[in-house]
Each structure stands twice: as structure tokens, then as C-alpha cells.
Symmetry: C2
Subunit: 426 residues, 2 copies
């Protein structure tokens, strides 16, 4: 019997408890393992739980869960940095394998926790931290360990992809689409982490680190969200043959590694352009494998519990085999490219005064920053006009300098939205 | 240092040799492993090789490769059942991990080889046997070990998918599309194994066995190919809102497990319908993960070598960790459903005499077999007419009885093509 200590019994934790009870014999038949939850640590003992649990299993003494002699591995599903981080470290130091779905924790304390796990030969597994039910951590760190991956592009936040899909397919406003996402339970009451790209940034940090073997910390991931996009921006992109997606991007060039999150225009024939609704997908490119696509449910109790369960089964087998296995990738120091040096094309929506000489002033601002313009189109007339500008490729810092100069012009009322263009333009 | 003994140095083997030389330091940095090919066993020493190799490494004594003290793990890329099978067994019995891309060998001798590897705690890994560079074996057997998978649908043969794509997008005839595939190197000079579905059947056997934990042998997989499809069939399917794909299908119902391969009409909005050209893809459905899609290059030296390399790195780490790990899935006896009991809809193209009473006779044959007809349309008139019939759902054996009865009718000149309809019909 392998005893599991569970920390946190929310949506995913509750589903895991139910699955481990309902599917115990099916799991035993398929894997030969007898898995049991021996302790569950929660913050409040008074809260109603949607599952039945034996006497003495539930406790609010979280350290006691980790320390209990019948807990052979620890599943951390509390989320947040503390006390989750110290509990994970405590388990590793006690030689107990840890499975976690906590993306913030791995993105922020990953190097420390992974080093602790490696030095003790204790598995620290986090398949569920990125892409929910999609197997991506293990393929990146194991199956593709021998590939020189060049880039990883991910739709790793289902809430924002649902919102963008609604805006693209029904012309819904950002606010209405967000409200619909909240009603369906895709978005939290406070959707900040999703819509600002912060959630995706933690996942980009993990994807980049595993793909390239150089740790890219959460704070080294520039992120922008979708909260200032309008349905008109989505429509303008569609007219140009693009689909707007919030992308987590990690790439490696001769200069080094860079990870970032922003709304991007993808050519309609890109595999990620077809990913609709709350579905997640990760696209991996490399010289030998060319391109791979992994798609599936990126969140939700059931898919995430499947990913956690896969890690639990793996860790349990390692315990029985007496293995000293840890993460398959070694991290080594590498150059991290400053985001300002990354070359992209920009889509810029501007609200400007409708008066003679406006275009000349705007073109001048781009010229001064040495950014050339691919196309410029004006919509609406009267007191104010709307300009949609697509620049040619230039470094991020040049594009920003141009926009800063625009913001200093009297005739520019507002820089409404910026969307980067990924992939070849026609 | 981990010494690799390579058996077979064709396209994939040659690429692996080159990668292990060119990428040695990159692999060492990322994984901490010093991997070297110490022996290469080939059938002929006289053949020119597209890679440089040290003195004494190449040999035609295949047993000596397995037995060599500096060979710590064996990579089998010879293909075929013998001598590959006995060499793999010899390595396992010597306690040496084996990596193979040999789908026929696993599909036919899998239970025996896996049992031998399990009882000795020796890794036997075969990620490259299905889907080339797409990570699918490990996700199915590890990440999804806790999921009650209900079905796996795969486009697992790039040659036939290329041919079907050409027929669908350019109206090319089957013969011309096959010739183009051969010219591009997608199809072998003898394309029989690809176009008859035999190659896909071996892969369906492996996918079904791993997904359900019940071994489905190669001989238990019914297979049909694409060699009697015409461009008109593809067009007729398109008119009805379907895309024709050669599918490897594995599913599990209360009655048991069934695996099969045949050309099928997929609704255009099915994720597999969009998989074009030589790309492979595997679709996995289950109650918790809903649906997952894995897509990428299904063949070719470089992608396949990446999959082999991932397995080599995994096995090497297990050697260093002193692990007793083996395949994560235990196989247990289970019911295998006879293909005749599987319920599908059929598309049938018939060439019939154009005379009064034809439709009544044909409808009678279906009625006698208790298969009802969803639609029937006639194309062409004159001496002969072409009928396209779509049946309602019925058991395979009833559909076959109906077609056997049709073949006995004087007015039926030819049963041109049969395509099964997968997924909901509109």
C-alpha cells in the first residue's frame, strides 16, 4: 500500500479523492498499485466537503500530513506560495516524493525545490502545473530531451482563450465575454491573474525552463494581457488573415533564451489559430521534430486530477522500485535575452485628432525610432479618427520608443491596443 | 559513460549516430549523460554509410553487439521479426535496457518481450514505434495511467494520409497520388504494408494494448486499406461534410476492447479531419480528460531519432539510478470484442445496371440483413449507373451480410468501395 498525503481539498483535490476511491480497483489492475489517501490537510475543518472520508483522515495540521508515517508521498494542491512551498520542501527533505499542480510555486521557487529534490533523489513532479490534462511537462523533459527545441508557443490559459473566441466568433465585447466566462465558471470572480497574462507567465517560465534547460524565472517573463483589446481589434486582425490569441512564447536563439506572454496575431493556418474556447494547446518546434502540437482541456477538476494521478502512479512505482530518480533535465546557466531585444511586428490601434498633418507627425515618430510602417489605415472621421498601424519587424525597444513618442503627441488621444504579429506576414 | 549498442544503421539508425556525435555536448549539458555508440551491428559491412565511425565499431556479428561489455543498452532499429526479436530478448536476458522502433515486433511478440523485461526489471522502451516523433507511448502508459480511456483514434500512417490529402485537395486519382508519394520518398517502392492498412494495424495493436491494459495482438486487429478508394468517393464524402482518413481505432465498451483499421469518414469538425499530408495525429478520449490531440511528424529519420533518443536518455538515467523500472502498465486478460459486433454506419459505392427495379432489389437486400438505409443517390445514367448508399448504424456482420447479398445480385456489377462513417451524422 502506498499512502498519499493530500494538501488542499478544493476542486482538483476533491476530484482526486473521489477518483482514488471510485477507481481504486481499476488503477490496481492497470498499474499493480494499491493507492490510498491516508491524510488530508485543509485550512478549515468546518467546510463541507463533496466527498466521504474516514475518521481521522482530515486535519488542519498541515505539517502533520507531511510527517505522518503512513504518508509515503505528498500531493500539494493548495496553491499559493506559502505555506505550500515550505510544506513541499519539508516533504522532500523527509525523502517523500511530491506531486504538485502549483505553477506559481514552481515558477518562483523551482530551482531551489528541484535542486533539493535532485540532491536527495526524490521525485518532484508537476505535470498538472501547465496545460491541465494535456501531457506536456513529461514530453518536454523526457521524450524531447534529445531535441534542440527552438520554440514553444502555448495557449495555456483557458479563460482568456474562451474570451477571445467569443469576441472573434460573435463580435462580443471584452466585458461581455468576460462576464460570460465568469458565469460558466471559466473565470474567477477576480479574473486579474488570467486577463493580465500573469497566470500564463508562470506557465511560460516553466515551459521555457524545461524546453531549454536554462531556468527562466517568473520575474524574467514579460507579460501583457487581453484586457485592453476590443472586438474591433479582433475583427481588424481577421480582415488581415489573423487570429488573436494570448500566447506564452519561449524561444531560443544564438543570443539566448527568452520567455514572454502577450496577445498575438497568428496566421489563420497556424495550428494554434484553430484552438477554440477553453481548450489549451502547446506547439513545440525543433530542427528534428519540425512541429508538434498537444491540445486538450487546460483546466478543470477532472482533467487536472488525471494529470496529478499520472504523476502519483509514477512516483509510487519509483518508491516501490527503490529508484533514485528525479527530474530528467539538468539546469545550467544560460543567457536570457532581454525582451527589449526581441524582434516582432506590431499592430497598433490609435485614436487621433482628425486634422491635417496627423499622418505626417505619426509617420515621423516611427521614423525617429527607426521603425518602418507596413500599412496604415484610417477608420471613422469627424472629431476623432481611428488609425490601425502595422509596423515592419523591429526590436521591441524600438517599437516601444515609437509608441512612447506617439503618446507625447498632442494629436494622439489614446494608444488603444497593441498586438504583436507572430509568424510570417503575407 | 553509457555505451550504446546499435542494431541496424539505416535511415533512423544513421540519423541517431550523427545526432549522438553532433549533439554530444548539448545532450551532456541538458541531461548530465555521456552517451556513446560503442558497437553498431549491420547485415553488410560493405555498404556505404553516411556517417563516420571509429575503427572496430561496425560489425556484422549482431550477437556480439548485444554481448559486448561496453554496450550498456541496446537500440534495435533493424525492423522485422527476426533476428530482431531474438536479439532484443538476448539483451533483456543480459539485463540490458532495450529501445526499439519496431512496431511489428512489439505488436506480435509484445507480451513475451514485456514480460521478460518486467520480470528482470529491465526497461523496454518503444516510443518511436507509433507516431514517429510524436510523444504518445509515454503519455498513454504514464501520464494517462489513471484515466479510464474510452477510445483512441489515430492517423498513424503518413503515406496514406498524404495520398488521401492529395485526392481530397486536388482530385488526384489514387494511382497518381501513390506515385507522387513514392517520388517524395513517403511511400516505399512496395507500398503494400502502408496502403493495405497492415502498418497501421500493428500500431493500433500497440495503442489499444497500452490504452486499455489488455493486450490486443496484431492478429486481432481487423484492417482494410485505401487501395480501392477513388477520388469520387472522397468528393462524395466532402459533399456530405466529411473528410476521409485511414484510421487506427481502439475503443473500450462494457463488452470489451476492440482495435481495427479502415478508411473512415470523419465529420469535418473532428480534430483529426484537419490533419493534412504526411503528418500523424492521435486523438484520445476519456471521461476525465474529455479529448486530447497529439500531432506531429509520424515518420522520417530525424523525428524518429528524436523519439529513440528520448528513450535512450531515459534508459541511461535508469541505469545510473540503479532503478528496476519497467513498463508502467500491467496487462491483464480482458474481453476482446469480435469486429463483427462493432456498430458503424457504412458508405457504399455500387456500380449497377441502369434498369427498372434495381433500387427495389437493392433495398430488399439491405432489408433482409436488417440494415436500414439513410440515403441513396444515383449518379450517371446509360448502360450502368453508380449508386452511393449511406446506411444507418448496424453491426458490422449485418452490414457485411447486406453487401454479400448485393454481390449475389445480377444487377450489381461491382461493390466499388466501402467507407465507414465515424462520429455523429448530421
Amino acid at each position: 500500500m502506498i499512502g498519499i498525503g493530500l494538501l488542499g481539498a478544493g476542486t482538483v483535490g476533491g476530484t482526486l479523492v473521489r477518483r482514488l476511491v471510485d477507481d481504486r480497483s481499476a488503477i490496481a489492475t492497470k498499474t499493480g498499485l494499491d493507492l490510498r489517501i491516508t491524510k488530508i490537510g485543509v485550512r478549515s475543518l468546518d467546510k463541507a466537503r463533496p466527498f466521504e472520508i474516514g475518521e481521522g483522515v482530515l486535519t488542519d495540521d498541515l505539517n502533520a500530513v507531511v510527517d505522518h508515517p503512513d504518508v509515503h508521498l505528498v500531493v500539494e494542491l493548495m496553491g499559493g506560495l506559502e505555506p505550500a512551498g515550505d510544506l513541499v520542501l519539508r516533504a522532500i527533505e523527509a525523502g517523500k516524493p511530491v506531486i504538485t499542480a502549483n505553477k506559481e510555486l514552481i515558477a518562483i521557487r523551482g530551482p531551489e525545490l528541484i535542486a533539493a529534490a535532485s540532491s536527495r533523489g526524490v521525485p518532484l513532479l508537476f505535470e498538472a502545473a501547465v496545460g491541465g490534462g494535456i501531457p506536456i511537462i513529461r514530453p518536454l523533459s523526457e521524450t524531447l530531451a534529445g531535441e534542440k527545441i527552438t520554440s514553444v508557443l502555448g495557449i495555456v490559459n483557458g479563460t482568456t482563450n474562451y474570451i477571445l473566441t467569443q469576441m472573434a466568433e460573435h463580435g462580443t465585447s471584452y466585458g461581455d465575454a468576460l462576464a460570460a466566462a465568469q458565469e460558466l465558471g471559466y473565470a474567477e470572480p477576480d479574473p486579474t491573474a488570467d486577463v493580465t497574462g500573469a497566470d500564463a507567465a508562470a506557465k511560460a517560465s516553466i515551459l521555457a525552463s524545461l524546453a531549454f534547460g536554462t531556468w527562466v524565472g517568473r520575474d524574467q517573463v514579460h507579460h501583457e494581457g487581453i484586457d485592453n483589446l476590443s472586438a474591433e481589434d479582433i475583427t481588424a486582425a481577421q480582415r488581415l488573415g489573423y487570429t488573436v490569441k494570448l500566447l506564452a512564447i519561449a524561444d531560443q536563439t544564438d543570443a539566448g533564451v527568452c520567455a514572454r506572454v502577450y496577445p498575438a496575431m497568428l496566421p489563420n493556418d497556424h495550428p494554434l489559430a484553430a484552438i477554440r474556447g477553453a481548450t489549451n494547446a502547446v506547439y513545440v518546434a525543433g530542427p528534428a521534430i519540425d512541429q508538434l502540437l498537444f491540445a486538450g482541456p487546460g483546466a478543470g477538476g477532472d482533467p487536472t486530477a488525471t494529470a496529478v494521478l499520472g504523476d502519483v502512479i509514477d512516483a509510487a512505482r519509483e518508491i516501490l522500485a527503490g529508484a533514485q530518480a528525479a527530474l530528467r533535465i539538468q539546469f545550467s546557466p544560460g543567457e536570457i535575452v532581454d525582451f527589449g531585444e526581441i524582434v516582432t511586428q506590431w499592430y497598433i490601434r490609435l485614436e487621433v485628432a482628425d486634422q491635417p498633418g496627423v499622418l505626417a507627425q505619426i509617420a515621423g515618430a516611427f521614423g525617429d525610432a527607426q521603425v518602418s510602417i507596413e500599412s496604415m489605415s484610417q477608420e471613422g472621421r469627424g472629431d476623432a479618427a481611428r488609425l490601425i498601424i502595422i509596423t515592419h519587424q523591429a526590436k521591441e525597444r524600438q517599437q516601444r520608443a515609437a509608441v512612447a513618442a506617439l503618446e507625447g503627441l498632442d494629436i494622439v488621444r489614446d494608444v488603444g491596443a497593441i498586438i504583436r504579429v507572430e509568424g510570417p506576414t503575407s
